[in-house]
Structures are given as C-alpha cells and as structure tokens.
C-alpha cells in the first residue's frame, strides 16, 4: 500500500545543509500497523511530514520515491502536483500529530474543524456535514458530542483533543493513517485509551497505520512490524517478534536494553552512550552509528551500510557486522 | 585569532545593514560634536541679498528666506536634536529602570501603584500628552526634554518590570539572597545587569522615536524657538515656501531628521537580531 524507496531529504539552513534523511526504505501493507522507532532527531517526523507533503520550506526531497496505492489511486507521493496531493490528504492518507492542543485551530469550534475537512473532500450537502461530524465525534467515543461540537480546543482536555484529532483525521475514511507520537503530552491512562481507540478504529476500518514513536515498548505492543531509525537512516526493520527476539543491529539491541519493562530493575536499563552525529557535518561517517558502536571496525565498516541485503525476506538490517 | 577574524567577518556579512547604520550613527555623533566648528557659514547670520537661493556650489543645501546657509543650520542643529533625544531617553531610562525594577522585585502594593500610574500615562495618546505637558510646564527646551522623557517612561518601566519579574525567583537571585545580599544590592548588581542587553535594543529604537517627538513638538511651535537652528523648526519655516516651489528649505532638514531616525531604528533592529534572534520581526 505504501512503499518508500531510497528517500533522502535535506534541510538548507543558515548553518549548513542538514542531511536529515538518507536512502530511507520501508513499506506498509494494507491493514498493517508499522512502527517507526528512534530517538528524537532520528528523522521519524521528517519522514512523516515528507510523505504528507507538509515539510518545512527549508526541507527538500533530494532523491527517492514514495509509492502509494489505495483502492482508488496509485501515485508517487513525491512526484504528484500540489493540488492532486491535496485531494489525497485527509481523504486517502491522514496524519495525527503530537501535542493535540496546539495541533487544532485555537479559535475555531472543533466540530467546525471537522466539517471543514469533510467539506473539501466530500460532496455531502451542508446539512449532512454536521451530522457526519457528530457521527465522527461519537465514533471516537467522545461523550456528549452535540455539546463538544461547539467546544473550542482550550475547553477540552489533552485526551479529548487527541480524540478530536483522530476524528478529524479519519473523517474521510483514509486508507493509511500516520500517527506521529500520538500519546506525547497525555497522561498514562489517557495514553492507553487513545492507543486502544486507534487500534480498534484501524481494525474496524481495515486501515493501515504508521505509528511513529520514541517508545519501543509502545510500538511492540501495537505494531505488526517495526522500523528502527537512527540519524536519518533506517538501521533495521523486522516483524515485531523477531526484532525483539533477535535484534541484528547493535543500535536495536541497545534500544531494547534501554527500554523499561515491568520485570527489569532500574540498574538493568542500559543507557545508549554518545549522541546523534551532527547531520550538518561534511565528513559524516558512512555508518552514522559508527561513533556510538562498540563493534565499529574501520576495516569492515568503511562504506555506507544501507545497501546490505536482507537477512531474511522480512528482516533487513543496515550493518556490516550484524549481531 | 583567525577564527575570531572569521567570526567577525561572518557577523559583519550577516549584518551589513546594521553596520551601515552604525557608520551613519558615528557620522551623526561626529556632526553633533563638531557641527558648529566645521559648518561652512554661521547658522544665524542673515543676508537678505542671498535669500531663497536654490542649492549651489557655494550653498549646497541652498539658503533660506533670511539668506542663512541651510547646510550650516542643518549641521549645527544636529547637536540640539540629538542632545534633546539623548537626555530625554537617558532620563526615562534611569527613572523607568528604577520604577520598573522596584515594581517587578517588590510586587504587591509597590507594583500596583506604579503600574496604575503607568497605565494612566498610557491612557493618553503619547504625543498629545507630551504636547499638554510642554504647554503646562512652559515653553522651553528643558520642558521638551521632560515631556519626551515622560512619554517614554511607560515603555521602560513596563519592559524592565516584566524582565525583572521573570528573574525575581531565578536561581542566581536566590543564591545572592541566601549569601546575605540586601534587596537593593540584589536589584542593582544582580537583576539590573541581566536585563541591560534587552534594554539596549529598546533604547536604540526609542532614540529614533524621541527625535521624532521632539522635532514634532518644535514643528508645532513648542520648545525650541526661532532663530535657533533645529530640524523641526526648519521644516516648519520651510513649509510656507514649499507651495511656491522653494523645496530645499524643508527638504534638507527633514531628510536629515528622517535619516537620523532611520539610523537608530535600523541599529535597534540589528541589535535585536544580535541579542535575541527570536525577537526578530
């Protein structure tokens, strides 16, 4: 349904060119939930923004394809014209964002924000727009939708705002949903309800989901497959169970070791040493993990590891000396 | 060393306009100091034989209705115009800093009283208030300075108050208090120096505004009196001749006035970018 191939994105800033993404590859099958996991600054959100075409002005796609296929259309998201992409956004593929409170227009009633989206993607008569929006509010389990329709974001809790966001994103029944850190800023119990809601809705509508998160534990709970990103590279991608049982990239292994679990003590949590490399650097190492890697060997790791073949049909790793 | 040089060059390259404005500022300052000494003619000597001559090699900016050299008058006026603005800004800066720091630091009633007074000043259109003050206090240059200082007071008091307010409970202030510093000492040595960089931006932007105000007041006949050379008055005197085509009387003092204000505004913008790029608008 979505196949991202060799996607590279650069940001031109005053301080220099930031190579935010390099040859990113991953794919999403219909109805599947794929997690994109990595630290802050690893390029997860940039990937999502690029696919949605809402990248900042300074960002530019320098290479790659993003083939999107739904029941209705088959396009390269990076080649389409702005106006035809606009038809797809919200209709075929949607996105929900972190910080739901700031992601909604602060001075427009939330119900109206949903009808705005419905109006531009459907030919429902005006009278039905409101009904459809109310239906959406009910479907994301918002109590008292009629009253909430007229609420402004500042009057709602973070959890309710995120449900509104979900209703907004799903209003036109997209086939792919990109959820960028949907639970950031919510308290723990709300996180669970929001995630379960997303899971149920995805199952009901047979919608594919890309879950972007820095939380490996969260991804392991909800995703069929996981793509691990580090400093703008995809370092490993595999089905969730094999990724956890048999991580092949040193970074994935460290990430798993750093993930809190109920049975682990605090001392068992292993922090990952070092920092993300400076993506502005002219002499960026071919393997962007090399400065943090225990297994780094200049004789073996001289070239960019991204083109390494798959270890198994559904398990790719970008490393010269996988575990 | 080379990195310092490189950095300096980078900063200058990125802020060309600011450096141009700084050069202009130096030129204005020089003119204010040396103006009377280097002016080619006396600014006050009249000579009806050469009245209302258009710009020529002998009189670059032409001559006015009394045969005085416009260039010389414009040059000599620099000291007065800048002087009024500098004194007014300095006065409001000092008083405003004191009031603002007190209001922000002590809070409570001190803050409420000071803020209420400032709000009352802000309830007037500022130029109108200045005009009323000069009319009430008496028509003199000194009172122009007081009036201009008074209408700038709200700006300084408010900015300093809010800056002090956010820093009042900061770690370094607590530390100073715990090591036995008194309130006044903390305000003078710990709080005030911290808000100074932000204030410099305002001072620069405010200078331009003060010059405009003072010139506006003398344009309507307040403060500076003829035959003193001052930009606002010169424009006012030249106004009569504009409709008969003698444009140079008003144009040159007006243009220099505009340039001076422009210079301070650019300088303020540049400083703002240097000190806090986020404030850039």
């Amino acid at each position: 349904m979505l196949s991202v191939e060799d996607l590279s994105v650069e940001f031109r800033t005053r301080a220099g060119v930031v190579k935010a993404l390099e040859a990113v590859n991953f794919s999403v099958q219909p109805g599947e939930t794929v997690g994109i996991v990595g630290e802050s600054g690893s390029g997860k959100s940039v990937t999502a923004f690029t696919l949605m075409g809402v990248l900042d002005r300074a960002g530019q796609v320098t290479a790659g394809r993003a083939l999107f296929q739904s029941n209705r259309v088959a396009v390269d998201l990076l080649k389409e014209s702005e106006s035809s992409l606009r038809q797809l956004r919200g209709q075929e593929l949607s996105m929900i964002f972190q910080n739901p409170r700031t992601a909604l227009n602060p001075i427009r009633q939330v119900g109206k924000q949903i009808t705005d989206v419905l109006r531009c993607h459907s030919d429902l008569p005006p009278a039905d727009l409101r009904l459809k929006a109310l239906e959406m509010l009910a479907s994301v389990r918002i109590p008292d939708p009629v009253k909430r329709y007229e609420a402004y974001p500042y009057e709602l809790s973070g959890g309710l705002c995120q449900r509104i966001m979900i209703a907004l994103a799903l209003a036109c029944s997209p086939e792919l949903l990109i959820a960028d850190e949907p639970t950031t800023g919510l308290d723990v119990t709300t996180q669970t309800t929001v995630m379960n809601l997303l899971k149920d809705l995805a199952a009901q509508r047979q919608m594919a989901t890309v879950l972007i998160t820095h939380d490996l534990a969260l991804a392991s709970e909800y995703c069929d497959r996981i793509v691990v990103m580090h400093a703008g590279h995809v370092v490993e991608s595999a089905p969730t169970h094999s990724l956890f049982s048999q991580p092949r990239h040193p970074y994935t292994a460290k990430l798993i070791a750093a993930t809190p679990e109920p049975h682990k003590s605090f001392a068992e949590l292993m922090p990952i040493g070092g920092n993300l490399p400076d993506l502005k650097a002219m002499d960026l190492a071919p393997c962007r993990f090399s400065t943090r890697c225990d297994r780094f060997d200049s004789a073996l790791c001289g070239q960019t590891p991204l083109k390494r073949a798959a270890l198994a049909p559904d398990h790719q790793v970008a490393c010269w000396q996988p575990l | 060393m080379t990195t310092t040089l490189k950095h300096t060059r980078y900063v200058i390259g990125e802020n060309l306009i600011t450096f141009a404005a700084f050069a202009l500022f130096l030129a204005l300052a020089l003119m204010a100091i040396l103006g009377p000494a280097i002016a080619p003619y006396s600014p006050l000597t009249t000579n009806s034989a050469i009245a209302l001559q258009s710009p020529s090699l002998a009189h670059w900016f032409g001559t006015d209705q009394l045969g005085r050299d416009v260039l010389s008058r414009v040059m000599v006026a620099t000291r007065l115009d800048l002087g009024i603005a500098v004194l007014a800004v300095a006065l409001s800066f000092v008083v405003g800093s004191f009031l603002g720091t007190c209001a922000g630091y002590f809070g409570g009633w001190t803050d409420r009283i000071i803020s209420r007074c400032i709000d009352t000043l802000m309830a007037f259109p500022l130029f109108v208030l200045a005009m009323g003050l000069v009319a009430a206090l008496g028509n003199s240059i000194e009172n122009i300075i007081y009036a201009t200082a008074m209408i700038n007071l709200p700006l300084y008091t408010r900015v300093i108050r809010s800056e002090v307010l956010v820093r009042r409970s900061a770690g370094f202030v607590e530390a100073a208090r715990l090591t036995g510093n008194g309130d006044w000492r903390i305000m003078a040595y710990h709080l005030f120096p911290n808000v100074l960089p932000v204030m410099m931006v305002h001072v620069s932007l405010n200078m331009g505004w003060a010059i405009l105000n003072a010139a506006g007041l003398s344009f309507i006949g307040l403060g500076v009196q003829p035959p003193t050379a001052e930009w606002g008055i010169m424009v006012a005197e030249g106004a009569t001749y504009i409709v008969s085509g003698e444009w140079w009387l008003a144009l040159f003092p007006g243009a220099v006035l505009m340039l001076a204000v422009f210079c301070f505004n650019l300088l303020g913008d540049g400083l703002r970018d240097l000190i806090d790029p986020r404030m850039r608008t």
Binding site: M52, G53, R57, R86, Q87, R89, S94, M95, F97, T102, A103, L104, N105, I107, R108, D116, V117, C120, H121, Y154, E155, M165 | D119, T120, L121, A123, F124, P125, L126, F127, V128, L129, M131, G132, A135, G138, G208, L212, G216, F219, I220, L222, G232, V235, A239, I242, V243, S244, G245, W247, A250, G254, A255, L257, M258, F262, N265, L266, D269, T281
Partner: protein, 342 residues
C-alpha cells in the same frame, strides 16, 4: 468551566476602562492646576489685565483648596463645561464638537488606508520569508516608522500639488468652490453620499486623499511589521500543519485558519497605532490646514489660549480610551478565549 456570557464580558471590559477615564481626568486636572506658574494667568491669556486674572481665579475657583477645585472641575465636566476659548469666543465644547468630525474622518481614512496596504504587504512578506520581497517590505516598514509625518506631508504636497498638480491645494476639507454637505454624520465623504451629491464627494475625497495618505504611511509600518510577524508565527504553527495535512485548500488555510489567528496580535497593535495616529493627526492637520481639533489646539497653543488646549487633551484622551475599549471588544469577538482567563 463556566463561560461568561458576551454581555458579561462586555460589561467587564467597560468597567475595566473606568480607571483609565478617572486617571485621565485627574492628570488633565493636575496639568492645569499643579503648575509652577499661576494657573489663573494661564487661563486668562497673555494679554489679560490683573483684574481679569483675578476674575478668572474666582470663576475657576482657583482660590479654593486643590481637592475642592478638583470636584468643581469634575462638576464642570459633567455639565459639559470646558471653558471658553479666547480666540474664537465660543465655548470649548462647541468648538471641539464642530471640529471633531473633521479629525475623526481624517484619522479613520488614514487608518483604513494603512490597514488596506499593511495587511496584504505583511501577509505577502510572511508567505515568502527571507525573499527579496520580504527584505524589501521589512526595510520599507522601518523606513515608514522613521518618517516624520509633517515632512512626508510637505514632500507629498510639493510633489503632487506643486510639481504634478494632481491634487487640489492643501487647504482644508473642501475647495472654496464647494459648500459643505448638510450635517448628518459630520464626515464629508459620508454626508455627500447620503445627500446624493457625487461631485461634492469627489471634491471632499480629493482634499482628504493627501493628508490621509500621509497619516496612513505613518501607521503602515507598525501594522506591516506585526502582520508579518504574526502571520509568520501562525504559518509555522502546529494547527496550520494539521490543516495542510487534512488537505484543506490553500486559500482556506491561509485566510480562514492562519489569518484569523494572526488577526489577534494585529488587533492588539491597533491600540498603539491609534496612539500614533492621534498624535500624528495634530501635525498633519497643521500641514494641510485641516480644520480639525488638532489644528485648533495648535492655534490655541500659539495664542497661549489655555482652556482649548486642556479640552483638546481631555477629548483626545477620552477618545483614545474609547478606541481602546472598542479594540478590546473586537478582540472578544474574534477570540473565544478572551474573557475566560481574566
């Protein structure tokens, strides 16, 4: 969360403006009574005899205590008595009321011109950050705020009247060939239209054009700046990204979402802009011989006629308080959050 009703918010805003009014009255009172010189001499004017000064002193109650004087002053205000002008021989209130429409028409025309130019320019600059258009507009805005209004006015007169002859002589609201329209609103543009006199409308508009442009240029700079800055902030905000990611058409994103939000800081800035405009108004009226309250005050100033000056300052301050109140109410209309946090 109990949401206050609109009428509650409006009442609350009006009450909040009251201290300003009281402050304004106190300051105007103090301006005249707590002077270094003799207030009676001020009010009697420069040509008054000792006997006339004494009479003024008694009439104004200047021989009483300051507090008593204040209440007398407030009483006079409530009766609408601001004294008599020495130059016109009329009551100050009459003079101000007959001249106020001229000033308001000019100020509003200047403001409308400024907004009509500043908002598109600011939006244009914000949608193309760091382009040459943006830099040009930024420079223009800085230059605009550096322009002395009286100088701009004179320069425009020289260029458009003396050189090109495309505007009528800068002498008031109407060419002497025309007579004023019947007084309805006091705004010549409106009144001439209401009485269906298009020729008169044209003549009034021609006279108004140059002073309004002069005034507008001055207000242009702060408005452009704040439009650009707040549009820029809105365009990079999260909810705009949501709107774009939902496939809303660019026009709706730009105007319906970004601009509506960007309006809030713009409306707030209007307060400062009015402060500028009302001040600059005095200078522009003098330059264009515009028969408003500003030129009235300047004439009084030259003649040391004190009562009109005092009345003028009070009128301007009250006008400004009312304008600020209107701005506040406008804000309440645009922003649903207004009135909740306070």
């Amino acid at each position: 969360m109990a949401k206050p009703s609109t009428s509650q918010i409006v009442t609350q805003r009006i009450l909040a403006a009251l201290p300003s009014v009281i402050g304004v009255v106190i300051v105007t009172f103090l301006l005249t009574r707590a002077l270094p010189g003799d207030p009676a001499a001020f009010f009697a004017g420069p040509a008054a005899t000792a006997a006339a000064i004494e009479e003024v002193r008694r009439n104004l109650g200047l021989d009483k205590s300051l507090l008593e004087q204040f209440f007398l002053y407030v009483g006079d205000l409530f009766r609408g008595d601001l004294g008599v002008s020495l130059i016109t021989g009329q009551t100050v209130v009459y003079d101000l009321m007959t001249r106020l429409p001229a000033s308001l028409e000019l100020t509003l025309a200047g403001l409308v011109l400024a907004i009509a130019l500043a908002v598109p320019l600011g939006v244009l600059a914000a949608t193309r950050p760091n382009s040459w258009i943006d830099h040009g507009i930024r420079l223009l805005a800085t230059a605009g705020v550096s322009l002395p209004t009286f100088f701009t006015g004179l320069f425009l007169i020289y260029l458009l009247y003396y050189r090109l002859g495309v505007v009528p002589a800068p002498l008031g609201r109407l060419n002497i060939l025309y007579s004023a329209p019947p007084q309805i609103t006091g705004f010549y543009l409106v009144d001439s239209l209401l009485s269906g006199n298009l020729g008169l409308f044209g003549a009034a508009a021609a006279q108004l054009f140059l002073p309004a442009v002069t005034l507008g240029l001055f207000a242009l700079a702060p408005l452009t700046r704040v439009t650009r800055a707040s549009m820029l902030g809105m365009l990079s905000s999260d909810f705009i990204r949501t709107a774009r990611a939902s496939g809303l058409p660019p026009r709706q994103v730009l105007f319906g979402y970004a601009f509506r939000n960007a309006l809030l800081p713009i409306v707030t800035t209007l307060g400062i802009v009015f402060s500028f405009l009302l001040g600059a108004n005095i200078l522009v009226e003098k330059v264009f011989a515009w028969p408003g309250i500003g030129s009235y005050a300047v004439e009084a100033l030259v003649a040391s006629d004190y009562a009109p000056i005092q009345g003028f300052i009070l009128t301007m301050a009250l006008l400004y308080v009312v304008l600020n109140l209107l701005i506040d109410l406008l804000y309440v209309v645009i922003d649903p959050r207004a009135g909740v946090e306070s």
